[in-house]
């Protein structure tokens, strides 16, 4: 923030997007990542915190929409239906004062390797709404994280919200960390769609132990069409450990990463199949 000359807090999205079209502009949501930044390129801060259009949680049929400015605490306080993996992921983000500020949009656009929320959203095929002053578009979360959001978002473009199916998948999120408030050593989310007793499709994601939250497509393909049982889930865990590209982590070695991935992917699948037991409110079916 060292070269910032202007701070604006627009009251509507159109005005914010106009500001963000200017070079040197940066959007600030909860600020938990940006406040301490010393990026010299930024000359104007556009604070999104007053824009009601991109805030709030809404349900439309079997779709759930999270506005970009929804905080982790907003997710935990929401009285309606939310897939329990999203609730578990929001709950595992840092500590209460951070959860009170950190937003869905901010977490998604930063795309840090330890992000808990992205792991849950990717495993639900979340659809991401983007906007610039000139156009809006919707892309899949898989597309957003195929590289990194910073490479996908255009100049002046922001995430305005995200939509997931509330009931399509049985889903379960697990985070492994040394303490409750620490960054994930490894996190995973398993979502399975059951049809006539077999797995119609699956989404398996991991984070923390990889450079950026990612789907393990080979594992998903292995599960599709199979009858769900403990042996299958165990085999899926082993495959996950084999196909994931682990990042180097000073806290744990790759053998450990592989071992916990095997165990936790299998466990997430078992718990998802047992009809979603994230120990939290929310339901997947």
């Amino acid at each position: 923030m060292i070269n910032v000359e202007e701070y604006v807090r627009p009251q509507n999205l159109a005005e914010a997007l106009e500001h963000l079209g200017d070079s040197g502009s940066v959007a600030i949501a909860g600020g938990t990542s940006l406040a301490l930044s010393r990026n010299p390129a930024w000359t104007k801060v556009v604070d999104l915190s007053d824009i009601e259009e991109i805030d709030g949680i809404t349900e439309d049929g079997d779709k759930l929409h999270l506005g970009a400015m929804v905080t982790m605490s907003d997710i935990l306080r929401y009285p309606g239906n939310i897939p329990c993996s999203i609730v578990a992921a929001a709950k595992s983000v840092s500590s209460t004062p951070i959860r009170n500020m950190a937003t869905v949009g901010g977490s998604m656009v930063r795309g840090v390797y330890w992000s808990d929320l992205i792991v849950a959203l990717l495993a639900l095929d979340a659809q991401v709404e983007l906007a610039t002053a000139d156009e809006t578009r919707v892309i899949s979360s898989s597309e957003l994280y195929a590289t990194h959001p910073s490479k996908v978002l255009k100049q002046g473009e922001i995430i305005t919200g995200v939509t997931v199916d509330m009931f399509k998948f049985r889903t379960h999120f697990i985070k492994l960390a040394r303490t409750k408030v620490d960054y994930a050593i490894m996190s995973t989310c398993a979502s399975i769609q059951i049809s006539d007793g077999s797995i119609e499709q699956a989404r398996i994601t991991i984070g923390g132990a990889v450079n950026l939250a990612t789907r393990l497509v080979e594992v998903e393909e292995m599960l599709a069409g199979q009858m769900p049982d403990g042996e299958l889930f165990k085999a899926a865990g082993v495959k996950a450990g084999n196909v994931a590209s682990f990042r180097s982590d000073f806290r744990v070695n790759s053998e450990y990463q592989k071992s916990v991935t095997e165990k936790l992917v299998a466990r997430a699948l078992e718990n998802a199949f047992a009809n979603c037991r994230c120990d939290e409110k929310g339901s997947a079916e």
């Binding site: 923030m1 060292i2 070269n3 910032v4 000359e5 202007e6 701070y7 807090r9 600030i28 600020g31 938990t32 406040a35 301490l36 010393r38 801060v45 604070d47 915190s49 840092s94 500590s95 209460t96 004062p97 951070i98 009170n100 500020m101 409750k180 408030v181």
Partner: protein, 160 residues
């Protein structure tokens, strides 16, 4: 410099701030020394304040983000002569030693009790999970919050 107006504990302050100045540093410059600087990067929780009703870490809020907003520090809760039930309970339970983490922890507890008048141990632990304390071991504060919650509930019943 960016011109802002921030309300702290009911009083408006018109100040010019550098863009990188955090709310934490601004509050300390304004004389609110109960807001402590520990790590300065969002880990320790000694700098917690209530910003427009939301408990947050003021080291991760830019001063300019507080323009037009209201900030509450522990000075708004009570003082030595008239302590808030939470402040009294923290002292009575021995939940205070060096005191560095306590102003922020009191605000975290106050934010909890404003939403939940009879929290469980787990709910208290979760509400205080952003506050590191190196003196007392995280037990006495929980007892203190439960005790204050009881006092506040009784006060409320007496008023009805």
């Amino acid at each position: 410099m960016i011109q802002i107006t921030v309300n702290v504990n009911g009083e408006d302050f018109d100040v010019d701030v550098m863009p990188e100045l955090t709310l934490l540093d601004l509050l300390r410059e304004l004389g609110f020394h109960s807001v402590k600087k520990g790590c300065g990067e969002g880990d320790c929780g000694a700098c917690g304040v209530i910003l427009d009703g939301i408990y947050c870490k003021s080291c991760l809020v830019l001063a300019m983000q507080a323009d037009g907003r209201s900030v509450l520090t522990v000075e708004s809760m009570g003082n030595v002569d008239e302590p808030h039930p939470l402040q009294k309970a923290f002292v009575d339970e021995g939940a205070v030693q060096c005191g560095y983490c306590i102003p922020s922890m009191l605000l975290a507890a106050d934010a909890l009790l404003s939403e939940n008048e009879d929290p469980t141990d787990d709910e208290i632990k979760e509400a205080l999970d952003g506050n590191l304390c190196r003196c007392t071991g995280y037990v006495k504060q929980i007892n203190a919050v439960k005790k204050a919650a009881k006092v506040l509930r009784e006060e409320e019943n007496d008023n009805e």
